[in-house]
Amino acid sequence: MKLAFNLNGRPASVSTDDPQMPLLYALRDDLGLHGPLFGCGLGQCGSCTVHLDGKAVRSCSVPVSAAAGKKVVTLEGLGTPARPHPLQQAFIDEQAVQCGYCINGMIMQAAALLQTNRHPTEQQIRAALAENLCRCGTHLRIVRAVKRAGDAMA
């Protein structure tokens, strides 16, 4: 079965014999992306977060068939090292990374937040990222980066 969707602004498709395969494996294994990462496969940690029609979703828990005909945006689609998205730039400016494995999820979740709330308070940022786990303890820098990005986007 062939499934077509828009990926980071371009048409993309994957062939699969199982429409229930999580979108994450299509993105990583079939389409070669490195942004979304496997963390738990249970929707508990957030490291696989992508945007599906503008909403932050856990790609480990969304079947690939649910993406058919929709817009998928991954970390790669937000910006590039040469032209980073304001959030990506803010994460660089705040050096808000340790191992960085969770950072895909932090940025994608924060991007969804900033779409609805340009100037979140620190408390709102903490609440919005509450279900995104970081083990290295980079939380304080991540909060500062999201705040900085909101200011930059104003």
Binding site: D18, F38, G39, Q98, C99, I103, G137, L140
Partner: protein, 740 residues
């Protein structure tokens, strides 16, 4: 070994099975993968006493640093580049760091114990200094000028008086140095530093925030197949039967490999392997050999003691305890079993070809891993190449090496490049654990309020002679393997205080319930928790301010300065009793201090906490950290590490505890093993004490050592209750409040 796949007899040849198995769709190119095999490794010295082991300068003047220490997400790659660029006087952009490749990088020991800069970085600094000095000599001799009249600017040897120079590229570019590392080569004067000591932005961050970074998990080889491991239903259960009838219906399923109690499925795609691993039916023997978790500390106390070791002995503590009219204070502390909990479960790729194995992993110890893989597979270490690729954050010896062994075993069995990705339940359930740690303390206080004697005892699993942790697949498959070493968990039981009679003893135990290994600040965290909690109890017993009590018992100017700066940072008022606050939510502050292993990094912290007396919930509001690790390489990288230490250890202290029944680990996801989330993360204020002319010491661990005790002491300050058992869960807090 049995292999089974659709319509495939178990005694068919492996290749035959792989080529003809009915479930197969994929066709296998003979030999599988591409280049970079073990035998294709470039000839390069990896000797630690050779400059060429650590450094190369090419014809364009670009510098390659070969580092045996690896970046586990700590920023070490950037710091090592800074150190090398500084000592060679070349721009940072010209430096590339290769990490943890047994064919290319010297064995600088495991990346652990906060030694990457202190040991690894300093070896590289000395190699760079040796190179620089030799190149200066080369020009001096060639030009007939005094070496002292020359200097280096941007990779060019120039006369100090000005004029034409000779670039590194001209002098050595593309050729070997063929030079012994000179331990006495003169080092650059820190006052001339332009890179070391500055907050150079990390080299890896732009790629990491844009999805361009290649983690271990992203790494692929041509012809690579995917594997998932099926773990025993109970930890030491025996595999009695299995069948893959249902798995054979899954497109892309290749087959299942069994070796003893080791069972793994192979798939053409990752998803096929995952589904097949769930579809294979297994029957395991019953096994219930784990202790009753509710009585874990009784169990630990009953384990046979192999030997006792005095870690510190000053004066005669036994005599001090008998001092007439002395008050004896005693306490027992315990620290739960922890899992590493990397956000990305372990992952590795291996390839076996022509008798050589190449294994890509996120191992903190590629050189040691190479020996372990060779031992497991009956190979020579020279025929194994371990290559490091950065993975998800690693805080010790977690599952990376086991996943590497999974991949190696399966690659050797199939002759194909195999990628093994652990699932979440593998990582939580099967990574080696920080062992349960139990402490007993006693002190004698004179009738004048002077602490006369101190005795501490720790109960921890014994250490084999060689440091290594048993490879899980070798254990399950019954292959040759090493004993599990828990790490140097006796460290930091000795105390820095001037108490006249001290005895600190380790009871080395014959067994521990889970395969032990080191997790960030192994032993030092548990021992410092107990030490600094007990110090706080003694300060309270003699009615002294806990910070003043430490200062009075310190004979170490650097430690005293640190604590004085901490007091200023935290605005700590001297006091003699607990702070008293009304209401259901009460506030308190606690202090803690360590001189790491009594020989290096100094850290002092103050924790501000709130305790909800109705629910028992503890919230850590803020940490103040004074930190002295000598010369600072990168102050922002250092702060990042300190913040990480505080946040991660707050999580470990308040929430984390391995759950298990009599058969297996039951905390196998983030719900059953919760970690701290954003709303509960404390603020962190840091005072870095930079000492550019001193040696740089480690910073990856020391702050962790003081976090649990600072929180415990703050809870006491807030409530009068002593929390002596980590984690400080609401039920334990409520129980302690009732006793207080």
């Amino acid at each position: 070994m049995t292999i089974r796949a659709s319509r495939c007899a178990t005694n068919e040849s492996r290749r035959g099975f792989l080529k003809t198995g009915g479930a197969l769709i994929v066709t296998f190119a003979a030999g599988g993968g591409g280049k970079a095999d073990a035998q294709a490794a470039p000839a390069k010295t990896v000797a630690v006493d050779q400059v060429d082991g650590f450094l190369a300068i090419d014809a364009k003047g670009r510098v390659t640093v070969y580092s045996g220490k690896v970046d586990l997400g700590t920023g070490v790659r950037t710091a090592i580049a800074q150190i090398a660029a500084e000592e060679l006087s070349v721009p940072l952009e010209r430096v590339t760091v290769i990490q943890g490749d047994t064919a290319l990088t010297p064995d600088q020991g495991i990346t652990f114990a906060s030694l990457s800069i202190q040991n690894g970085g300093m070896q590289i600094r000395q190699a760079a200094a040796s190179a620089r000095d030799a190149l200066l000599s080369q020009v001096a001799t060639g030009q007939g000028v005094a070496k002292e009249a020359l200097t280096v600017k941007d990779g060019i040897v120039v006369p100090k008086s000005g004029g034409k120079g000779w670039s590194y590229a001209e002098l050595v570019g593309g050729r070997d140095f063929q030079l012994k590392l000179d331990p006495k080569a003169p080092l650059k004067d820190p006052k001339d530093y332009t890179l070391v000591g500055t907050p150079v932005p990390r080299l890896d961050i732009p790629d990491k925030v844009t999805g361009r970074f290649t983690y271990m998990h992203d790494f692929k080889r041509k012809g690579m197949i995917h594997a998932r491991v099926i773990r025993p239903r109970a930890m030491k259960a025996t595999l009695q039967a299995w069948n893959d009838f249902e798995a054979r219906k899954i497109p892309g399923y290749i087959g299942t490999i069994r070796k003893g109690n080791y069972l793994a499925v192979l798939g053409r795609s990752e998803w096929a392997a995952i589904k097949a691993s769930q579809a294979v039916e297994t029957t395991w023997s019953d096994w219930q050999g784990l202790p009753d978790k509710a009585k874990l500390w009784d169990y630990v106390r009953k384990v046979k003691i192999n030997r006792d070791e005095d870690l510190q002995k000053i004066g005669d503590s036994a005599q001090a305890m008998k001092t007439p009219n002395a008050k004896i204070v005693s306490a027992t502390y315990d620290f739960a079993i922890h899992t590493h909990g990397s956000i990305g479960p372990s992952c590795a790729v291996a390839e076996y070809k022509d008798g050589k194995l190449t294994c890509w992993s996120a191992s903190q110890q590629t050189h040691l891993l190479r020996k372990q893989l060779a031992n497991m597979l009956g190979m020579q270490p020279e025929d194994v190449r371990g290559i490091y690729i950065e993975g998800s954050g690693c805080y010790g010896r977690n599952g990376h090496e086991d996943a590497a062994a999974d991949a190696a075993l399966l690659a050797k069995e199939t002759g194909l490049p195999v990628r093994v990705q652990w699932m979440r339940q593998d990582e939580h359930g099967w990574d080696p654990k920080g062992p349960p740690t139990l402490h007993d303390y006693r002190a004698a206080i004179s009738d004048k309020g002077i602490v006369l004697g101190w005795e501490s005892e720790v109960f921890v699993p014994d250490r084999p002679k060689d440091i290594a942790v048993t490879l899980l697949p070798a254990d399950l498959a019954g292959m040759p393997r090493e004993d599990a070493h828990p790490g140097n968990i006796h460290q930091s039981l000795a105390i820095p205080y001037t108490i006249p009679n001290i005895k600190a003893t380790a009871h080395w135990l014959a067994e521990t319930p889970f395969r032990p290994s080191w997790i960030r600040t192994p032993g030092r965290m548990q021992n410092t928790f107990a030490n600094e909690s007990f110090v706080d109890e003694l300060a309270a017993a003699v009615g002294m301010d806990p910070l003043d009590f430490r200062l009075r018992n310190l004979n170490d100017p650097r430690g005293v300065e640190l604590l004085q700066r901490l007091a200023k940072l935290a605005n700590w008022p001297s006091r003699t009793g607990r702070v008293q606050s009304a209401g259901d939510v009460v506030k308190g502050r606690g202090v803690s201090y360590v001189k790491y292993e009594l020989v290096r990094t100094y850290v002092g912290v103050v924790a501000d906490v709130e305790v909800d007396k109705k629910t028992g919930k503890v919230t850590v509001k803020k940490f103040y950290v004074a930190h002295d690790c000598g010369q600072i390489i990168n102050p922002d990288g250092l702060k990042n590490q300190i913040e990480g230490n505080v946040v991660q250890t707050t999580s470990r202290t308040l929430l984390e505890e391995l759950r298990f029944d009599r058969s297996r680990v039951t905390s196998v996801d983030w719900v059953s093993y919760p970690i701290l989330k954003f709303p509960d993360v404390p603020e962190v204020a840091i005072d870095l004490i930079d000492r550019p002319t001193e040696k740089p010491w480690g910073a990856g661990e020391p702050t962790t050592a003081v976090v649990p005790s600072a929180i415990a002491n703050a809870i006491f300050d807030a409530t009068g209750a002593r929390l002596r058992s980590v984690p400080f869960t609401p039920d334990k807090v409520m129980a302690a409040l009732q006793k207080a």
